[in-house]
């Protein structure tokens, strides 16, 4: 995939002064709007989450949300948001469709007098990404985070979700990688690849990336998330496309194997998926390359996930060792219900099995065999 340069869309123009095509997702207003243009805002569906102080549905525009930022946003954020909003105009049709279908890509920048970027308008995640999660007597319909795909089929079944199997995992990982490749082709850094920033539809085998309005061209402050730290991006330095490649590799390795810790690395190393022969090597290079700039791209991973070869123009990177495996942990065994004032009942001693019974059985069988042999002679 070749890199597509971003085009400034601040004046609702895409490139050479053309009026941008209407948003295929149905956003009816311009790409820059004032808070007043949006009409009434409903009660927030989320508050104080990351850079947003609130995310509120637009009462007059069903399916759309106003994501309102904290007031400490950098003034240049308006320009960055405009670049993001217009970026899909530069993409081939298929990539644009995939980006709009698989992310909450911003549709408009929200401004106020004196504040050029108080937030942005984003689409609500489609309903297909919600499911009923059941456990015991409780059940709740909510968005299914991709976190679940990094669990075993048994765990997924345990909350009442359809199990993905390898085919479902592969399909979801292809969609994730496709989106990552599109961002990479636009020269954008996401940095926020993790379990909490993508939804998964077990029925549709698709994924939906959120918080993409935080993407920045080329590099951005590294968003720290526990267990997602890139070992070759030192703390305090910016995240770039190579950081994204590591995190994408980590996410895909976990989702493909259903394992969350070092087991995911070992499973990838041990698996040679017959129909995707390049995947194991691409993922290991993404995760373990000692030279971060030689990590394979999202497009290379996508090709391998589609069954293609591991194509590269440079020699393979050297790799670090696989991380050590944690010891096997004894699974929790439920005790009987705990009654605080009930003295423990003495356990009934099982009768010792008769140790002679086995020998008698062997003896009887031996006699029968001897009789059969004797009768045949």
């Amino acid at each position: 995939m070749t890199e597509t340069p971003l085009i400034d869309g601040a004046d609702d123009k895409a490139g050479g002064g053309d009026v941008p095509a209407a948003d295929p997702r149905g956003w009816a207003l311009p790409r820059t709007v004032s808070v007043g243009d949006l009409g009434p805002l409903a009660e927030p569906i989320s508050e104080h989450n990351g850079q947003a102080i609130a995310v509120k549905p637009l009462a007059n525009h069903p399916g759309w949300l106003a994501k309102l930022y904290r007031p400490d946003q950098h003034p240049e954020d308006a320009h960055r948001l405009d670049l993001l909003i217009s970026a899909p105009d530069t993409l081939p049709e298929a990539d644009r469709t995939a980006l709009y279908a698989g992310t909450c890509w911003p549709a408009a920048r929200i401004h106020e007098p004196g504040s050029p970027a108080v937030g942005c308008v984003i689409p609500m995640a489609p309903e297909q990404y919600r499911a009923e999660l059941r456990r015991g007597a409780f059940s709740e319909r909510r968005f299914v985070e991709i976190d679940w795909l990094a669990k075993s089929d048994e765990s997924i079944r345990g909350v009442g979700l359809p199990t993905p199997g390898f085919a479902g995992r592969l399909a979801a990982c292809r969609r994730l990688t496709e989106l990552a490749a599109i961002l990479e082709s636009l020269g954008l850094v996401y940095s926020d690849w993790s379990f909490s920033n993508a939804f998964w539809s077990p029925d549709q085998r698709s994924v939906y990336l959120i918080d993409v309005d935080g993407c920045q061209p080329k590099k951005m402050p590294d968003i720290h998330q526990p267990n997602w730290a890139d070992p070759l991006t030192p703390p305090g330095t910016d995240a770039d496309e190579y950081t994204d490649r590591y995190r994408l590799g980590l996410l895909v390795a976990k989702c493909l194997t259903g394992q969350r810790d070092a087991h995911a690395f070992h499973t990838v190393a041990a698996c040679h998926w017959q129909n995707q022969p390049g995947v194991s090597e691409v993922l290991l290079d993404m995760l373990l390359a000692t030279d971060r700039e030689r990590r394979p791209s999202a497009a290379q991973l996508g090709q391998a996930l589609d069954g293609g070869p591991y194509l590269r123009t440079v020699p393979r990177p050297a790799r670090t060792e696989l991380p050590p495996l944690p010891p096997v942990v004894k699974k929790y065994e439920p005790a009987p219900p705990k009654e605080i004032h009930t003295p423990p009942t003495p356990t009934e001693k099982k009768p010792e099995p008769n140790s002679h019974a086995g020998w008698i059985l062997v003896l009887v069988l031996a006699v029968i065999v001897l009789l059969v042999i004797a009768s045949n002679n």
Binding site: F138, Q225, I340, H341
Partner: protein, 216 residues
């Protein structure tokens, strides 16, 4: 190495809680559901549930709650013995931290969520408590306390080392629900941040800043 927060939910199950027993169990079951259906929270916050009255019972030993099929029921009754509880929790921490480290986890300072509706009935609870939070003990935990009903604020001000929440006159059942929601929000926020992060806005409770806060 993955991060892990050893979390102790220490619940008063004395006779004063008897009339709220059903709500207590329903609230614990709700806590279990919320943890068991949030893989990254249950992976980060390994939880041990302890119920105390005249005796101390480890209801759930330190576990990834996703692996726990259901929350056992707690039956309330008896006195409110703080001292034994602190001794038992200290033993648990000593053992659990070693086990978690052996699993190649990076273990954060343990967090005790202490929920009570009354004052201690034992006179000498302070020595075990001092031993538990002794800074010279490398595994000393943070204590976040929730007091409701007849809980004694002056006592809880001594027990809480990280945060204190005192019910603002709400009934015990609503307070229980509020406390568990606050606990859950703390675990969710902490799992996202990778460090102890306590939202101070808890329904039905007033947040009391703690002067005795430890430095991590």
């Amino acid at each position: 190495m993955p991060l892990c927060l050893p979390t102790y939910v220490v619940i008063d199950a004395s006779s004063s809680m008897k009339e709220h027993e059903a709500v207590l169990n329903a609230t614990l079951a709700r806590l279990h559901y919320n943890l068991a259906t949030n893989p990254r929270v249950s992976e980060f916050a390994r939880v041990c549930v302890v119920a105390f009255s005249t005796d101390v019972h480890v209801v759930i030993p330190m576990s990834d709650m996703e692996q726990v099929p259901a929350m056992p029921e707690v039956i309330c009754g008896g006195r409110t013995e703080y001292g034994k509880t602190f001794d038992r929790v200290r033993e648990c921490i000593q053992q659990d931290v070693s086990n978690l480290k052996a699993q190649h986890l990076e273990v954060l300072r343990p967090a005790i969520f202490f929920l009570t509706d009354g004052g201690p009935t034992d006179a000498h609870w302070q020595d075990p408590f001092r031993k538990l939070v002794d800074r010279d003990w490398s595994r000393h935990p943070h204590v976040i306390a929730y007091g409701f009903g007849a809980a004694k604020r002056d006592v809880l001000e001594k027990v809480a080392t990280k945060a204190l929440f005192i019910a603002d006159g709400t009934d015990t059942e609503s307070a229980l629900s509020g406390a568990i929601t606050g606990l859950l929000n703390t675990l969710i926020a902490s799992s996202a941040a990778g460090t102890m992060n306590i939202p101070t806005n808890v329904n039905g409770f007033t947040y009391v800043p703690v002067t005795q806060e430890f430095v991590d």
